[in-house]
C-alpha cells in the first residue's frame, strides 16, 4: 500500500467530509420542509399555545433558521442527535444500538455480492456469446428484476415455513432455551442472518456481474492476455490471473453505485425480517413522524456510504498499479 500516500488520503478525507457537509445541508433543508414541524406528533389538540411554544423552545424551533442550521451542523458532528420525541430517549442511544446490526447484515451482503458477481461475470465474459453465457446472463437479469422483499418472502415461505430450517425474524432468539456462549451465539446469529443475507445477495450480485462481464470481454482482446496464452499458461491461469485481475478494475468503480443499491436492498430486507437495524428504523420513524430519528438514521447511512467510497478508492489503487494517487499522472 505504498502507492497511496498519506497526503492523498488526507485530501480524499477532506473531499469526503465536504460531501458529507453538503448532504447534511440537504438533509436539513429536506426535513425542515416536511409538512408541519417535526413536533407534529407531539402536539395534541388539547395543548395550549403556550405549551406548544414551550415545546418549540425546548426543541429549538423558535430560533431563526440559520441558528437552527448552525446548531444542527455543529451538533451532528459531535454526535449530539437530540432526543427522540416518540421514544423519549436520546437519538444517539438508539442509533448506536442499531448501527452494528446494519453493518453486519449490509457488510456481509456486500461481501457476498462482490464475490459472486465478479466470479460469475468472469466466466460469462470469458465465454461471451456461448450458449452458457446467454442462458446464465438472461437468468441473472431475471433475478435482478425481482423485488427483493418479494424474494425474501418466498425464501421465508420455503426455508422457514415449509422446511423450518432457518429463522425469519430478528437477529437473536428472543427467549432462548440455551446459554449464551460464543458458539451458541454464533450459530444463533447464523440461523437468523442466513435468510436476509441470501435475500440481499440474491439480487445484489447481479450489479457487479453486469460490469464484470463486458469488462472481462474487453480484457480478453488485450495483447497481454494473448501473450499469456502464447506463454503456454493454462486457460485457467490466463483467465483468472491475467484477464480477471485486470477486468476487476472497473468493478471497483461500479461498487460506488452498487453500494447505494445494496443499502436500498438492506433497508427492505431489514423491514421484512424485522432486523433491528438503521434501515428498519428510518422507515418506521418517517412513518411515525419521529423526525430526529429519521434524520439521524439518514445521516448514518450517508456516513456509511461515504466511508465505503473512501475504502473503494483504496482498493482501486491496490488493483491498478498505474494509478499513483498523490503524484502526477
Amino acid at each position: 500500500m505504498t502507492r497511496i500516500s498519506a497526503r492523498y488520503l488526507g485530501k480524499r478525507v477532506v473531499v469526503s467530509y465536504i460531501t458529507l457537509l453538503v448532504i447534511m445541508t440537504l438533509l436539513f433543508a429536506l426535513l425542515r420542509s416536511m409538512p408541519g414541524t417535526f413536533l407534529a406528533s407531539m402536539i395534541t389538540p388539547e395543548m395550549t399555545p403556550e405549551q406548544i411554544a414551550r415545546l418549540e423552545e425546548v426543541w429549538g424551533l423558535n430560533e431563526p433558521l440559520w441558528v437552527q442550521y448552525v446548531d444542527f451542523m455543529v451538533n451532528y458532528q459531535t454526535g449530539e442527535f437530540g432526543m427522540s420525541p416518540t421514544r423519549r430517549v436520546p437519538v444517539w442511544d438508539v442509533i448506536v444500538r442499531r448501527l452494528p446490526r446494519t453493518l453486519i447484515l449490509f457488510g456481509a451482503g456486500f461481501i457476498v455480492a462482490y464475490i459472486v458477481g465478479p466470479l460469475v461475470g468472469m466466466y460469462l465474459g470469458w465465454w461471451r456469446g456461448s450458449r452458457k453465457d446467454k442462458s446464465i446472463f438472461a437468468s441473472s437479469l431475471v433475478m435482478y428484476s425481482m423485488p427483493s422483499f418479494w424474494v425474501a418472502w418466498l425464501f421465508i415461505w420455503l426455508f422457514n415455513y415449509e422446511l423450518g430450517w432457518l429463522k425469519s425474524t430478528y437477529m437473536f432468539t428472543k427467549f432462548p432455551e440455551f446459554e449464551w456462549t460464543i458458539v451458541t451465539t454464533l450459530t444463533d446469529v447464523l440461523h437468523h442472518i442466513t435468510l436476509p443475507l441470501l435475500s440481499i445477495s440474491f439480487v445484489g450480485w447481479v450489479g457487479a456481474m453486469l460490469v464484470m462481464r463486458p469488462s472481462m470481454n474487453n480484457v480478453t482482446e488485450e495483447d497481454y492476455v494473448f501473450l499469456a496464452q502464447a506463454k503456454g499458461l493454462s486457460e485457467r491461469t490466463v483467465m483468472i490471473k491475467h484477464a480477471a485481475r485486470n477486468a476487476l478494475i472497473p468493478v471497483a468503480t461500479q461498487a460506488i453505485v452498487g453500494l447505494a443499491f445494496l443499502i436500498d436492498g438492506s433497508i427492505l430486507i431489514e423491514q421484512v425480517f424485522s432486523w433491528p437495524g438503521i434501515g428498519e428504523l428510518i422507515v418506521s420513524s418517517v412513518l411515525e413522524k419521529d423526525y430526529p430519528i429519521a434524520q439521524a438514521s439518514f445521516f448514518m447511512l450517508a456516513v456509511i456510504i461515504i466511508v465505503m467510497r473512501l475504502l473503494t478508492d483504496v482498493v482501486y489503487t491496490y488493483l491498478d498499479p498505474r494509478i499513483k494517487f498523490g503524484g502526477g499522472q
Binding site: 485530501k11 477532506v14 473531499v15 502526477g328
Partner: protein, 451 residues
C-alpha cells in the same frame, strides 16, 4: 515545384502550445500543481504558397499539435500564426468563416475521420452546408459528384449513399480528401494521411494529392513520421524534436546532408529496401525524454553524439560524451553501485567507472573495448583530473553517499549544450538549431530566409 518567387502563405512566429495548464476546482482546492506538457515550444516556420512543407519527427515531438495549431483546432499559448498576412487568433466572424473555407485538414485515421452515421454524400456535403455554399440541393449534389470524381471515386453515384464502413481504407481517405477539397481551399494540413493505408494503395493516394495540388493550386503541410514519404512528397522539410523545430530546409538537402546530429540519426535509422545497401545505425543513446520535463539547454543534448566539450577539455570529444553520460547517470540516481560491482572482476571503483562510462550503442558506433555495457576507462582519452573526479564520485557511491557523489560531479563537465538552448542558425542551405554551427554562422537568422 516551388515557384520562382515564393510568397509566404503561413507564417508561424515563436509559437508554443502548452497542454494541461488548466485545473479543476478540486485540484485547485487541493493545491495540485499542473505540470504542463510543452507540446510545441517556440516554433518559427514559414510556408510558401504552392509548396509542400514536410514536418517530420518521432511520436510525441509535437508535429500533430503544430498541424492542429495551423488549422486553428488548438489556440497557441504564445506566439502568432499568420495566414495570408492575418493573425488567425484574432479574426472577425466573417474572416473566421473565410479562414475555415480556405484552410482544411486531412486526418490520419480514415476510419475515425468520417462520421459513421453519415453517408459519403452527407459527409462531403457538410462543409458546403456549414458555409452556405451552393444554390440548393441539386447544385450541391453536383458539386459533390464532381469532387468525388476528382479524387478518383468514379462513378460518384456508386459512392454517394454508402456509409464509411462499407468502404476500404483507401476509399475512405479519398472521401476525406474530397471533403477537404469541396470548399476550394488554398491550404491543407495533412496529418499522416497514408500511415493507416496499405503500401500498394498508399502510392495512389500520394500521387492523387500531388495531382490535386496542381489542379486546385494548393499548399500542403505534410506531417509524417515516415521519412521516405516526406522525401517523396515534400519540397521543404522541418524536423521536430520535443516541441522544437531543430532543422529545416530543402528536403533533399536535409536528407542527404543533415546538419543537426538528431536529423542525421533519424535518417540513419531508416531501413533501406535495397538489401545490398550499406547502412549506418543511428548514433544516439537512450530514448525521447518525458515532454513534461524536457532537458534544459538543447533538448537533444542527453542523447547527442556530438555534445560539445567545455573549453579547456583536454581529452577527446568521444571521452567527453561518456564522461557526460556518467555525470547524468549519477545525478539521476541511475548508477547503482551494487549492480555495477556485482559481477565485476576488477576493483569496485573501477567497476563503477567501467560501467558508468559505457554507452549503449550499436556495434558500429561503440568503441572496440566496449562490450556488454562496460568499458575500460584507460582506452578513453580521459584527462587525469576528469578521471580523478569520476573516481571520487564512484568512491562516494560505494559508500552509499549519493548526495556527495552528486556534489562531486555537479559543477564539473559543463557543456554549452546543456546550458543554452541553441538559437536557429544558418548552416548550408538549411537552418538548424545546434551549437555546432554557432561559430560559422554568427548571428541567429530568421527562418525561411535561407532560400
Amino acid at each position: 515545384m516551388a515557384s520562382d518567387d515564393p510568397e509566404p502563405i503561413v507564417e508561424v512566429q515563436n509559437v508554443s502550445k502548452l497542454f494541461g495548464t488548466t485545473q479543476g476546482v478540486t485540484d485547485r482546492l487541493l493545491g495540485r500543481d499542473p505540470t504542463p506538457v510543452r507540446a510545441v515550444d517556440g516554433v518559427d516556420l514559414t510556408i510558401n504558397e504552392g509548396d509542400i512543407m514536410g514536418i517530420a519527427g518521432e511520436s510525441g515531438c509535437g508535429k500533430t499539435t503544430l498541424g492542429k495549431l495551423l488549422v486553428k483546432l488548438h489556440e497557441a499559448t504564445h506566439g502568432t500564426i499568420e495566414f495570408d498576412g492575418k493573425d488567425i487568433s484574432d479574426l472577425s466572424k466573417t474572416e473566421r468563416n473565410e479562414f475555415r473555407q480556405r484552410v482544411q485538414m486531412i486526418f490520419q485515421d480514415p476510419f475515425e475521420s468520417l462520421n459513421p452515421r453519415m453517408t459519403v454524400f452527407q459527409s462531403v456535403m457538410e462543409p458546403l452546408k456549414i458555409n452556405d455554399i451552393g444554390a440548393g440541393y441539386q447544385d450541391r449534389r453536383d458539386r459533390v459528384k464532381q469532387v468525388l470524381n476528382d479524387v478518383g471515386l468514379a462513378p460518384a453515384e456508386a459512392y454517394l449513399d454508402e456509409f464509411p464502413k462499407e468502404l476500404s481504407g483507401g476509399e475512405r481517405q479519398r472521401v476525406a480528401i474530397a471533403r477537404a477539397l469541396i470548399v476550394n481551399p488554398d491550404f491543407i494540413v495533412c496529418d499522416e494521411p497514408v500511415s493507416m493505408l496499405d503500401v500498394s494503395i498508399r502510392a495512389g493516394v500520394l500521387n492523387l494529392m500531388k495531382e490535386l495540388q496542381d489542379e486546385y493550386g494548393l499548399t500542403y503541410v505534410f506531417i509524417s513520421h515516415d521519412l521516405s514519404l516526406i522525401r517523396y512528397m515534400c519540397d521543404r522539410t522541418a524536423i521536430m524534436y520535443l516541441g522544437n523545430v531543430i532543422e529545416q530546409g530543402p528536403t533533399s538537402e536535409v536528407v542527404m546532408n543533415p546538419k543537426h546530429p538528431y536529423t542525421e540519426a533519424l535518417f540513419d535509422a531508416v531501413p533501406e529496401i535495397d538489401p545490398e545497401a550499406e547502412r549506418h545505425r543511428a548514433n544516439v543513446t537512450g530514448e525521447v525524454p518525458d515532454p513534461r520535463n524536457p532537458p534544459a539547454g538543447c533538448r537533444f543534448h542527453p542523447r547527442c553524439s556530438n555534445i560539445i566539450p567545455p573549453e579547456g577539455w583536454a581529452g577527446s570529444q568521444e571521452a567527453f560524451r561518456r564522461v557526460f553520460q556518467f555525470k547524468s547517470r549519477v545525478l539521476q540516481d541511475d548508477l547503482d553501485p551494487e549492480e555495477a560491482t556485482e559481477n565485476a572482476a576488477s576493483e569496485s571503483t573501477d567497476a563503477i567507472l567501467e560501467r558508468g562510462l559505457a554507452l549503449e550503442l550499436p556495434e558500429e558506433h561503440s568503441l572496440d573495448a566496449e562490450a556488454s555495457r562496460s568499458i575500460d576507462p584507460s582506452v578513453l582519452d580521459l584527462p587525469a583530473d576528469a578521471e580523478r573526479t569520476l573516481r571520487e564520485a564512484a568512491e562516494r557511491l560505494l559508500e552509499g553517499d549519493f548526495e556527495a557523489a552528486k556534489a562531486e560531479v555537479e559543477d564539473e563537465f559543463e557543456s554549452i549544450c546543456e546550458r543554452e538552448n541553441p538559437a536557429v542558425r544558418e548552416a548550408g542551405t538549411q537552418v538548424t538549431a545546434c551549437h555546432l554551427y554557432e561559430e560559422e554562422a554568427g548571428e541567429p537568422v530568421a527562418p525561411g530566409v535561407s532560400d
